[in-house]
Symmetry: C2
DNA sequence: AATGGCGTTTAAACCGGTTTAAACGGAGGA
DNA sequence: TCCTCCGTTTAAACCGGTTTAAACGCCATT
């Protein structure tokens, strides 16, 4: 509780000048070894830690990174990605004495968040998540002079390195899995198509099906929320020839869809197979357990933080970082399609 | 991208000294009105914003508040409370030019998070959530000289104001609701008893039942996770005289419990009524919709941030803030108990 | 005209570090 | 012996604000 020691205290104790202490602390050459020893000893006898504020002012760095998240439930609320991602980021920052500054902004105005972070010089760099097509934030950050990394690759040109976890293999694996079970009428509930990752997932869905010589029953636009998942599911089930399997772009929609199917009197997976994406905590515990795709958001956070730090340090020409793709997790919500369905031509008697 | 203007630039432009600019900006008395006008005009002609870093150094404030969260999934992951709470906090901070610093720490070591925040002088105060009995963090913060507010009231003495949202009325309402439906064999799946709010909920449960002249069938210890919810539910269903209704201390356990009950072949609510706590997003959309209790974590965040700011400003004797209690949300997962159950004595023929 | 008082303004110190240019001191060479 | 060079150390400026004590200008008293 007594005032903390300053660099002057350390200098006095070690019998040197402030400058020398600074040199010793930062391991700069030009100081005699013995002097360095003496200074460091004095420093930790006093338990001295250099003041972040003073350092911040003189070197013009914040020693902090920023994350802007919209208050939009489609992105933030109970999204299993961010908590784990943030934990990963923190695990890196805490080793560097850096802090994570969070900005939560109203639905449409993410730009404000970055503006504030830049205007107040609160951070040295930011994470750019939930990329949209032709995302205006990229130009904004360039203009603001704020270093960044993008989570996954943007569609256009970007001066920032990307940390990418390819969603395609996960979707491909889910569709393959359904095909192997014998499904031929598969539908997809996508996320909002303005998001790059949402579009990537639905494209992968369609392409995998096409490659197998099949047409998707439908691709319904969802919004990543449970409510949207319900709506989309109801529309699919109301089709004259409803699907026997539905692939959702995330677990929230899938779990809601599961509820909607059950409310409609269907048994999952006997009447309908359902698959999600994310492997959120509840996926394992709903009934039936949800087949889904598991990524590693913690490691995503680690990689993103490390990469962003390289950008902040002025490292140029940083290659994009590729993370291992998500894995299929098979649970009880997917099974073979019902043997007989209304629309199918009656089985031909064997010749 | 050109260097931002400093207070010296403004002073020069207005033809006054740095000191005067500082006075004008902070609305200090002693400056002639005309001078203030002149200075403010010069300031926004240049688009000057005082540097947070410089201010930070000279006034010894961080202009930031801190939140420490454990990486423990029981607290963080997909907990609907924090995202909304944080959004509420941010809505206050953004108006004051303050930032929110997040510390995510490993399971047991929350203390480290506060230590780091204090050592690095990153924040002016912190939010103390998920209080435990005899919580060591209170003494720690006193020792560190870090102002704080507690979310809900701690069990012992505390020098910090509390922002409280009483969980009791919510639990009481749930139990009343079940009693009105005719249930007499009700069980509870609690959170870890070392948490004050978990214990508050289970105490409220027991007391309400006792007041109605009933005994709880059982109070199982859960851990707020879905996995724990499953386990506890299985134990309850395996009792020789299983409950006809289960009240869970949070939605995650309740939704998992719902899955466990269905997996065990029970129909909810016909065979078993289930109620949660939190009204998380999925609660409305699982099948059947989950009866639960809804609080307002956003407003909780607003109140907590405002109160913490008063503490930080040196305001002493701040009264605790009471928030409106959570409301019961009735959905399909609760209904009258089955008319006949194994253990009941056969109905007496009318005399 | 000198003095006092008051409202206004400023110069300078300060916060706690980093950084640069200059000073210092001892060894080696002429 | 003197000069130079080089490794080591320091003094001082600087980052961009805030704050305090002193100075200033002006008017009212005496």
């Amino acid at each position: 509780m007594t005032k903390r020691p300053t660099i002057a205290d350390v200098a006095r104790r070690a019998g040197v000048s402030k400058g020398s202490v600074s040199f010793a602390l930062n391991g700069r050459p030009g100081l005699a070894g013995a002097t360095v020893e003496k200074i460091l000893a004095a420093a930790d006898e006093l338990g001295w830690r250099p003041s972040n504020r003073a350092r911040s002012l003189s070197v013009s760095k914040a020693f902090a990174l920023g994350l802007v998240i919209t208050r939009d439930p489609a992105v933030l609320s109970s999204d299993p990605f961010f908590p784990a991602f943030i934990a990963g980021v923190e695990s890196v920052l805490s080793m560097h004495g850096q802090a994570l500054v969070l900005q939560v902004v109203a639905d449409g105005s993410e730009a404000d968040g970055y503006q504030r972070l830049a205007r107040d010089a609160r951070v040295d760099g930011v994470f750019l998540s939930d990329l949209r097509y032709d995302d205006p934030r990229i130009d904004l950050l360039v203009e603001l002079g704020l270093p960044a990394v993008t989570l996954n690759r943007p569609d256009g040109e970007s001066p920032f390195p990307a940390v990418v976890l390819d969603d395609r293999p996960g979707i491909v694996a889910v569709v393959q899995h359904l095909l192997e079970l014998g499904h031929t009428r598969i539908a997809h509930v996508a996320g909002p198509s303005e998001f790059v990752h949402a579009a990537t997932r639905s494209t992968a869905f369609v392409e995998t099906l096409t490659a197998a010589g099949l047409q998707p029953v439908a691709v319904e636009a969802g919004d990543f929320t449970a409510a949207g998942g319900i709506e989309a599911t109801r529309r699919l089930l109301a089709l004259p020839e409803p699907p026997t399997a539905i692939v959702y772009a995330n677990d929230r929609m899938a779990i809601a869809g599961l509820g909607a199917a059950q409310a409609a009197g269907l048994t999952v997976p006997d009447d309908l197979s359902i698959a999600g994406f994310d492997d959120s905590e509840l996926a394992e515990y709903v009934h039936p357990g949800l087949t889904t795709v598991r990524a590693d958001p913690f490691h995503f956070g680690v990689a993103a933080a490390q990469t962003l730090n390289r950008v902040v340090d002025g490292d140029t020409e940083i290659p994009d970082v590729e993370l291992p793709p998500a894995q299929l997790v098979r649970r009880r919500s997917t099974a073979a399609p019902p043997v007989q369905t209304r629309w199918q031509p009656p089985a031909q008697p064997p010749v």
